[in-house]
Symmetry: C2
Subunit: 255 residues, 2 copies
């Protein structure tokens, strides 16, 4: 709290942040940006594998990823874990805590990262004074709902190939939105984390990546991915289970 000179923590300054049109403040006029700046004053640095917050912790703030990337993990009573999302720059963390006042998932840095802290109570106060901010916040919440519905569909009705294709295309698009190459990127997460997110075992992720390489859709080397045929990946998605004929050309003998 208390603005001014913070020892380790830097001032946030949405107004000058290059993420301003990816993050919460999209479309806010300069004037409102400054008001937002008055509450987003604390940045936090995290090292690889460090937790930004953990399940059950009291919920006090949202966090915007400023640098690096995160995973969110839901832990079941029996210890099983499920990765529920991967967050990149400009994306918000902590939305799960609003409903109950406690965090439900844990957020873990996948690499050395930095976030802006957005104290939630103050955000609500400000939102009630700036309708555009409130509106935007609702949209963010709604989009998260829709994203998760997409994942539900992926988990509920797609085959391993389709899941991975969808995942890679989604990453590609998000990198592109951040000004990075949509065809060459480095995965920030392990095969196991990808598998957890996609409802697959790490061996299946590995095998499927190898199969994609074999088929010429991409090249893969450890965490480096080079998409060679995005259209091909998209077709994997739009082609239902191998109903029968169709890809008879691709696989000469139907078995």
């Amino acid at each position: 709290m208390r603005p001014g000179s913070l020892p380790e923590q830097l001032r946030a300054a949405c107004a000058h942040c290059n993420l301003v049109d990816l993050c919460l403040p999209v479309g806010l006029p300069e004037e409102d940006l400054k008001r937002l700046d008055t509450l987003v004053t604390v940045r936090k640095r995290l090292k690889r594998h460090q937790a930004l917050f953990e399940s059950q912790f009291p919920f006090e703030a949202l966090y915007a990823v400023r640098l690096g990337s995160f995973k969110t993990v839901l832990t079941l009573s029996d210890g099983r874990e499920q990765v529920t999302g991967f967050q990149m720059t400009g994306e918000l963390l902590g939305l799960d805590g609003i409903g109950s006042g406690r965090h439900v998932v844990s957020a873990i840095a996948l690499e050395d990262s930095e976030v802006c802290t957005i104290p939630y109570e103050q955000l609500e106060t400000l939102a009630s004074k700036i309708p555009a901010l409130m509106s935007e916040f609702h949209k963010i919440l709604s989009r998260e709902i829709v994203r998760e519905q997409g994942v539900m569909t992926l988990l509920g009705s797609m085959r391993a190939e389709e899941r991975l294709a969808a995942f890679l295309l989604n990453l590609s698009q998000r990198f592109a939105a951040r000004g990075f190459s949509p065809t060459q990127f480095r995965l920030r997460m392990t095969r196991e984390e990808i598998g957890s997110y996609l409802g697959l075992k790490l061996e299946t992720v590995s095998r499927t990546l190898s199969a994609f390489q074999e088929a010429g859709y991409l090249r893969v080397n450890r965490r480096e991915i080079a998409l060679a045929n995005r259209e091909g990946l998209r077709q994997i998605l739009s082609a239902s289970p191998p109903t029968s004929t169709e890809n008879a050309a691709a696989t000469p003998n139907g078995n």
Copy 2:
């Protein structure tokens, strides 16, 4: 607007609604309830299988289930469908549309039903004037995010038995919250719809229900369910995959 006599549509009247503490207006003082009533003026009746809204339709309002129940369905480009949720009285429909201004899922009545229409623009206006309303709305959105994360985990890491047990226990609890028996209820949806929600085929749902009956956890007759041993169902959930020994007592020969 226009209060008074609406031809087919009834006035909503949150202030006198028995769902007031399940629905959006939880905890609002009498005075604010009345302000909410000024925008929730339209009720809509739907027959079984009728769509309240469909994917791609312009988003204009949220809907609170007043009577009956619904499913929400996400349709993939290739025609595959996934049920993303079942909604009972007091629950909100349409949250998916806020982010893009268009509905993403379709909402279909599972039985003859009735909803209250909450024009979204007016809701936002009112929310910015009633902080408690805004706050509650955020909580509802957040809880929906958390619910979906739960489903993601279910779909990503649970076996058929566990999925169905979780589903039944969830229904049980929601019926209880509405004053109905937590042990005897009637399913509003088909095996296929349950299967779609749980990422299973209808045959698997049917078989697993039969197996639960066989094991004495419940009795099932078409859509009528009588839970006989909820603790047993809970244990299915907390017991990871059949690692080996443990339930050797329950199933005398490991197969």
